[in-house]
Symmetry: C2
Subunit: 411 residues, 2 copies
Amino acid sequence: MAMINENYIKLPGSYLFSEIAKRVDAYKAENPDAAIIKLGIGDVTRPLPPAVISSMHKAVDEMADEKTFRGYGPEQGYNFLIEKIIEFDYAPRGISLNIDEVFVSDGSKSDTANFQEIFGLENKIAVTDPVYPVYVDSNVMAGRSGSLGADGKWTDLTYMPCTAENAFIPQLPNEKVDLIYLCFPNNPTGTTISKTELKKWVDYAKDNKSIILYDAAYEAYIQEDDVPHSIYEIEGAKEVAVEFRSFSKNAGFTGTRCSYTVVPKEVLGYTASGEAIELNKLWNRRQTTKFNGVPYIIQKGAEAVYTLEGQQQIKSLVDYYMTNAKIIREGIQSTGIEVFGGVNAPYIWLKTPTGQDSWSFFDKLLHDVNIVGTPGAGFGPSGEGYFRLTAFASKKSTEEAIDRIKTRLKL
Amino acid sequence: MAMINENYIKLPGSYLFSEIAKRVDAYKAENPDAAIIKLGIGDVTRPLPPAVISSMHKAVDEMADEKTFRGYGPEQGYNFLIEKIIEFDYAPRGISLNIDEVFVSDGSKSDTANFQEIFGLENKIAVTDPVYPVYVDSNVMAGRSGSLGADGKWTDLTYMPCTAENAFIPQLPNEKVDLIYLCFPNNPTGTTISKTELKKWVDYAKDNKSIILYDAAYEAYIQEDDVPHSIYEIEGAKEVAVEFRSFSKNAGFTGTRCSYTVVPKEVLGYTASGEAIELNKLWNRRQTTKFNGVPYIIQKGAEAVYTLEGQQQIKSLVDYYMTNAKIIREGIQSTGIEVFGGVNAPYIWLKTPTGQDSWSFFDKLLHDVNIVGTPGAGFGPSGEGYFRLTAFASKKSTEEAIDRIKTRLKL
């Protein structure tokens, strides 16, 4: 008899975005003429950069000719792309990486979800709260979570609250933890971590032989100086950290699918008998067995991000969204609502006014001014009392949304 | 302290293709002028069909325009592709499927490797021998294999030998098994299973509440009438079988990456307390949590396979390779070597002559006639004494290879 993985049964439904869709649909049904503006989902809207388009057309043509056709590529990605990643994203920051320390993949979602597979089930997992749900759910599926408590927390996970009270900086946990998920610039709060604070985590990981799983998918949005773009800017991080990067948010690849994960050879995990094992070898084995590489055409598109034009074009994309972020941040601030994030990230995290819970504020925003955002409670218990707006709509919609909030929202 | 998944340590290195590469390189170093022909790897060589190329160019252009740009798509794939899959690949065979029973993904390798995640670790796994190594390795990584014996078999897996003695048809196992991996047309043997034989497996699965994981990646190569294209042609299979299909081998997508997996809602797994759970729901949860969909551009390319031109073009591709298969099969047969497969599959499985082991025959073929194939032992213990040749080279190379074997190979 085929027995299922019962960890799946523990997972509640993907409540957040389906509940949002349900409430929006219900409102629309009653108000068919409402001009709803969506500032809820973390998905880009601008077209792909022209350099990427041009490179993909060329790659498509290569696939049409037997002399340049490509069959199976390396599961780890083509060297032409990995070399550019190292040259543009790491070397200028004084970080040296080898070709076989970078793994190209189809998305940071896949990689942050899959990476836990190379670890034992006995590891203690630490996540920030609020958090990107994939880190939690993938560990629930694997069997590391315990059960879900009435407080919305899994009994075996360690939660590190990130709220206004601690300036959204996770504090070192009291109990020992083995695998630590950090995401900066943060989704959903849009806040960042300084090098000094991040150094505390690297030191903790070194002291405890822990691993930091560092999600830097929003790195391109960093505008300020002291904010680390890569965890490897921190001394010692190459011994304890894996870094996830993506083309989704800098180059608009959410529907095009390309990302990469850096696994330095110095990063070690341990067997029960105390033997140290390179995570790089384990991840390589995972990827070569359970993945077959990113399409050649897509990798050629990603490569074009690293041309002179490509670099200028992705800067324009980021600037476009960051202008929206500024419009949202300053507009909301002017209403007296407390605002966080939006300076080095496309996410604005606001404190719901007058002590409303985040779903009530969702309803109010939808009903009063026809704007859809995301209730903070959807990202974890410490997200209650907060609300996320995203900078990914068009500038016109963003301006209109903020104008409505400033002029028509009754706080 | 971060503990690794020690199941990974059990895995031997990816010996097969690296050992082949090593021996070929060593030979080349000593014989730099040798014109080596590779009939070893299961990778296509013909360019993508013109209909696919044209559709991908259009899709790339859509991504360049904000009005037609696509961000995140459904993790399960776009309906435009799923509808065509059902209409062309299933409806004509009398198989009705719903949209949400088909999951588009980036490859049958990923899906056949990942699908075991939704099952408990206590399930007993059955594989044919020889076998596509991914089925075995993914279960080793998950912890279902036991240890690797000196006979090349994992202690906790059930092996079903497929050799000339049983006409390469796996026999129902004596012990009860829960998850059964079947691949027809088979890689590596190139042989098929009749509807009558496949019905025995469906009946076994129904009787034992087992699940059949049916890999039909080579379905397009079927030429004969009684060979099932889909396991759902067998009565009752929709209650017990999941089917994997790919665009890799019919449309040349090995480097373009698109496939799909069918999970009918009738297929059930069980909890320890005996509750029946739809695998469709579990797989949907797995894919929405750990995967983010296939690139829009690639799905548009796959959609074009289902146009009138696309269907003609993939038929030409298959015909091209099957002409090669015929050349190989008949050519090898004429030398007196016993040959299997190659009639409904791009793989030719031959019995190594004069009782040679499969690596000795590999060396002989490389040294005497400069042809690279794949030793059967690389696919499992029962592959010893066999050897795989593939039909994916150019017709010219294939003819030249067979001419060399006929005229210069000393048996």
